[in-house]
């Protein structure tokens, strides 16, 4: 029958569309990119390089989890990198062997980490309150928070790095056997909270339609505010890893990460318009971005070359997201 050929054709296009609309598209692209570049970039597929990729991927992923939560509500958190710097400095000031408040105290490391989390959460809380109570746009609130907090971090340290951090602390960032499970636990918890908890459902509802959520009795202000607190806390955790890797508390730590975080989250498929996003998607996005970063480094491309490529990839991801949305709408 004549219908057979058309239905066959249809099936292949359908398969293509399914893959295209699938949430594993970015993972598929990672695999594709890796296999395509492995022969050219020397050492790309080596075991040592995997370790390298993971080490730099984990803090970025941690940071991106928080960003995902904020983006789901339809907001944005530009202050995360400065939160990294501030918490890095605060933690180092507590536990540094070089004039730290608790230098030599066996509880210095847990206290320092707790304080870092509190400071990160507090920055998020300030953002959240300004956005919900004062009804200011998230963009300008977190932008100004970024300026203020990074300035504050520099002021605290008189623009100096704080070294001599305890070995127990630096190990967290440097040893994959610690940092990997830590990040995995945080990610799994975030995933469960987003997909299975009341908080998660409310978060998506707020992102989809703020007004309707409010009318339906969702505590919109509280939910929005807590998204920024989560983001601040995630930034603090990322700071624990990054500070450990740098082995110094630095007021400029993580200052180049901002676009990577937002870019990776968007590449994963989390929408900048709110209501859509998953921890798993963000993981794929972070992986993809890191693969590009790493491979281009190995190819000895200069920093600006890498930036141009990354900019192009993020733009392309945003375009893909728009196109994918259109297909999903049409097919349903």
């Amino acid at each position: 029958m004549t219908a057979t050929t058309t239905s066959n054709e249809q099936r292949t296009t359908n398969k293509f569309l399914t893959l295209f609309a699938s949430e594993y598209l970015v993972l598929a692209l990672c695999v594709l990119y890796f296999t395509a570049l492995a022969p050219f970039a020397e050492g790309f597929a080596s075991r040592g390089n995997f370790g390298n990729i993971l080490l730099t991927l984990l803090p970025l992923f941690m940071l991106a989890i928080g960003q995902t939560v904020v983006l789901i509500t339809g907001g944005i958190d530009l202050s995360v990198t400065s939160t990294i710097a501030l918490t890095s400095v605060v933690g180092a000031m507590v536990m540094s062997g070089d004039n730290g408040w608790l230098a030599g105290n066996p509880l210095a490391v847990p206290i320092a980490i707790t304080l870092m989390l509190i400071v990160g959460g507090a920055v998020g809380l300030l953002n959240g309150i300004a956005i919900t109570r004062l009804r200011m746009p998230a963009f300008i609130v977190t932008l100004t928070t970024m300026m203020f907090v990074s300035g504050f971090a520099v002021w605290l340290t008189k623009s100096k790095n704080i070294g001599a951090l305890p070995g127990a602390f630096t190990l967290i960032g440097n040893n994959l056997w610690i940092s990997l499970p830590l990040t995995a636990v945080v990610a799994a918890f975030a995933h469960l909270m987003l997909s299975r908890s009341l908080f998660g459902r409310w978060l998506y509802a707020v992102g989809h339609n703020n007004r309707a959520a409010y009318v339906s009795g969702v505590p919109v202000a509280g939910i929005t505010c807590s998204a920024y607190v989560v983001s601040g806390a995630c930034a603090a955790l990322a700071s624990v890893l990054l500070t450990g890797q740098a082995e110094t508390g630095s007021p400029v730590l993580g200052k180049n990460l901002l676009l990577d975080v937002i870019g990776a989250t968007v590449i994963g498929g989390t929408s900048l318009f709110g209501g859509k996003g998953k921890v798993l998607w963000t993981l794929f996005g972070v992986l993809f971005l890191k693969l590009i970063d790493n491979s281009l480094n190995l190819l000895n491309l200069s920093d600006w070359d890498i930036r141009m490529v990354k900019g192009g990839v993020i733009l392309f991801a945003a375009l893909m997201d728009a196109v994918r949305n259109r297909f999903v709408v049409r097919s349903s």
């Binding site: 469960l192 908890s197 908080f199 509802a205 007004r211 309707a212 959520a213 409010y214 009318v215 009795g217």
Partner: protein, 611 residues
């Protein structure tokens, strides 16, 4: 009479003619062969209830809609507008009821938005712009600089800017849709004087208004629409306010409403499409027989506060007709299995179900400056209470105040006898209040989210387990399944499908469903059937009755008077932020409702105020 001469002289001088215009939406005929004529230099008054077809007719003229059949003639030539600019080019200008101005631009920029005078393209001739704007403002009697930003103007002055904008096109025909709703008395007088001048210059106008006194004063010809058909057409001298009202409402119930379930009636509420009218009729007959024989219920006693007993006016109207006349039955049963409620004596029900003395929701002297004034009423257990009135009468605003979305300055709102906090919907939802908003897309649904997520939103809290509030998926899914069945959501729709892909009726069912999951004791529905097809309407009416039968109180706000008469036990009529009249079901009378809503009835106000 001068107008008569004028009329004779210009009888054949039609500027615009509608000829046998037909239009249907979703199989519902909203315009039924409408033919009318606008004479050069005359004002045609177009009146009719909300939904009578006035807007559809004007949308066809404006090029927003295409007629299914019939034609338009402009200057005796066929006129087929496909786009709003076609109408503008043909010299037809619209002054819309809702304001379409850009508040961030100046008056002059708004007026000439589509036709900026250019000096040397692309640059705007600013002086010319300002001068011409000033001329137009002078003409409409607005004494303001053309450089004033529109955001600084009150609603009345914006309306005048809107009119100036229409005049900037030097139109031959102007359509004014309720232009005086936001004008002060002085501004209204100014507008009328302007209309008089325009008419003398030969400009024709179509004037749409609910204020019948103004229509009589301004218009040369009057056309009355009802249910999409023209029911009155003639020169002004043939009309009075009373006649227009009776033409606007003079019909039998043309819509069908479900019968309210009898107490203890085990027959399923849903209408079986295959089931004939006769069965439902017989059911009712046996019920009535049982009741009269005292088998089912004790003979109802009528306490003085019980407003819902006794035979209704509707029943009286039909009592004169032979009840078992087969031809009557078949003609009414055009939709099989649907029962017209006015044939059903829904009032012979036991006291406690039809609004017993227990007040679920009570308002005491609720006021908010410029919005509502001194609103007091009670909604009882098992009662369906309607609020009628024109748009802008304060109905939706009142509902928003009750639900805590907007503030109120004075008075008390009591739910189950306890005063509610001043604002915020959360506490109210926990106390058993539910609110279906007028704006389904912006306040009712998360359009991009799935059906399941939308249905679960309100009652989600109940399925969360401490300490981290993880959801127990089993009970949650179960609740969604039950609710899908209860609201008869289309079985083709998957749970995870985005709500925006559903039809309007199914979307509305999702909103109703999400509130029903929370098992509300008081449900406020603002325009529950707007933009919904007839079948879904019927099912929504059933849900309302079902809810009341289970002991909830239902407050229904609607612009469709017939709908309220069809489903309510009692109706309040609002106008200008006040309750102007209250009708018990025995008193339901379209003319009385319309009069209370339309006429500036000082008499009804005082009578309604006396406790």
């Amino acid at each position: 009479m001068e107008t008569t001469n004028h009329e004779q002289r210009t009888t054949n001088d039609a500027l615009l003619s509608f000829r046998a215009i037909e239009k249907s939406f979703f199989g519902v005929r909203v315009l039924k062969s409408v033919s009318l004529r606008v004479r050069r230099g005359s004002v045609l008054g177009l009146v009719g209830e909300n939904g009578a077809g006035k807007s559809t007719l004007m949308n066809i003229l404006g090029g927003n809609l295409r007629p299914d059949a019939g034609e338009l003639l402009l200057n005796e030539a066929r006129f087929e507008p496909r786009h709003p600019t076609d109408a503008a080019r043909a010299g037809i200008a619209f002054v819309h009821q809702e304001l379409n101005l850009f508040s961030n631009l100046t008056i002059a920029e708004n007026i000439f938005l589509t036709s900026f005078p250019r000096a040397l393209p692309p640059f705007i001739a600013r002086r010319q712009l300002r001068d011409r704007a000033a001329e137009l403002l002078n003409e409409v009697g607005l004494n303001l600089s053309p450089d004033t930003l529109v955001e600084r103007l009150p609603a009345g002055e914006r309306q005048l800017v809107e009119i100036a904008k229409a005049l900037s096109l030097a139109p031959k025909l102007i359509i004014l849709d309720e232009p005086t709703t936001s004008l002060s008395a002085r501004e209204t007088e100014h507008l009328f004087a302007l209309m008089q001048r325009l008419r003398e210059r030969g400009v024709a106008m179509i004037y749409i208004s609910h204020i019948l006194g103004d229509v009589l004063r301004l218009c040369d010809d009057i056309v009355v629409l009802r249910d999409g058909a023209m029911v009155g057409n003639g020169v002004r001298a043939e009309f009075t306010s009373e006649r227009m009202i009776s033409l606007m409402v003079g019909r039998e119930l043309s819509q069908l409403y479900p019968k309210r379930r009898e107490r203890g009636d085990s027959v399923p509420l849903s209408p079986q499409r295959g089931e004939g009218w006769g069965e439902g009729w017989e059911r009712h007959e046996t019920q009535a027989a049982n009741e009269s024989a005292g088998l089912n219920h004790p003979a109802p006693v009528t306490p003085p506060h019980e407003p819902f007993l006794g035979s209704s006016r509707r029943d009286e109207a039909h009592a004169s007709q032979p009840e078992k006349d087969q031809s009557l039955v078949t003609s009414a049963a055009t939709v099989q299995g649907f029962e017209a409620r006015n044939f059903v004596s829904g009032n012979s029900l036991p006291v406690e179900r039809r609004g017993g003395p227990e007040a679920l929701l009570e308002l005491r002297h609720v006021s908010q400056p410029h919005i509502v004034r001194d609103i007091s009423f009670a909604l009882h257990r098992g009662e369906v209470l309607g609020i009628s009135g024109l748009m802008g009468a304060g109905r939706s605003e009142l509902a928003r105040i009750i639900f805590g979305l907007d503030a109120h300055a004075g008075g008390e709102i009591l739910l189950n006898g306890k005063a509610l906090p001043r604002s915020g919907p959360r506490a109210r939802i926990q106390h058993g209040l539910a609110f279906l908003t007028e704006d389904r897309r912006h306040e009712g649904l998360c359009l991009e989210a799935s059906i399941a997520d939308n249905l679960a939103l309100v009652a989600l809290r109940r399925h969360a387990r401490t300490p981290l509030k993880f959801l127990s998926t089993g009970t949650w899914r179960e609740a969604i399944r039950t609710m899908r069945a209860a609201v008869k959501l289309s079985p083709n729709a998957r749970d995870e499908q985005a709500v925006k892909t559903l039809s309007g009726g199914n979307q509305q069912k999702v909103v109703i469903g999400k509130w029903l999951v929370a098992e509300p004791r008081v449900f406020i529905l603002d325009e529950p059937t707007r933009g919904i097809d007839v079948g879904a309407k019927f099912e929504i009416y059933q849900l309302i009755h079902d809810l009341a039968d289970r002991g909830a109180g239902v407050l229904v706000i609607s612009s469709e008077m017939e709908e309220l008469i069809g489903i309510c036990d009692r109706i309040l009529v609002m106008a200008q932020g006040e309750i102007r009249d209250e009708l018990r079901s025995v008193e339901f009378d379209r003319e009385r409702i319309l009069r209370a809503a339309l006429l500036d009835g000082a008499r009804t106000v005082t009578s309604a105020r006396t406790p």
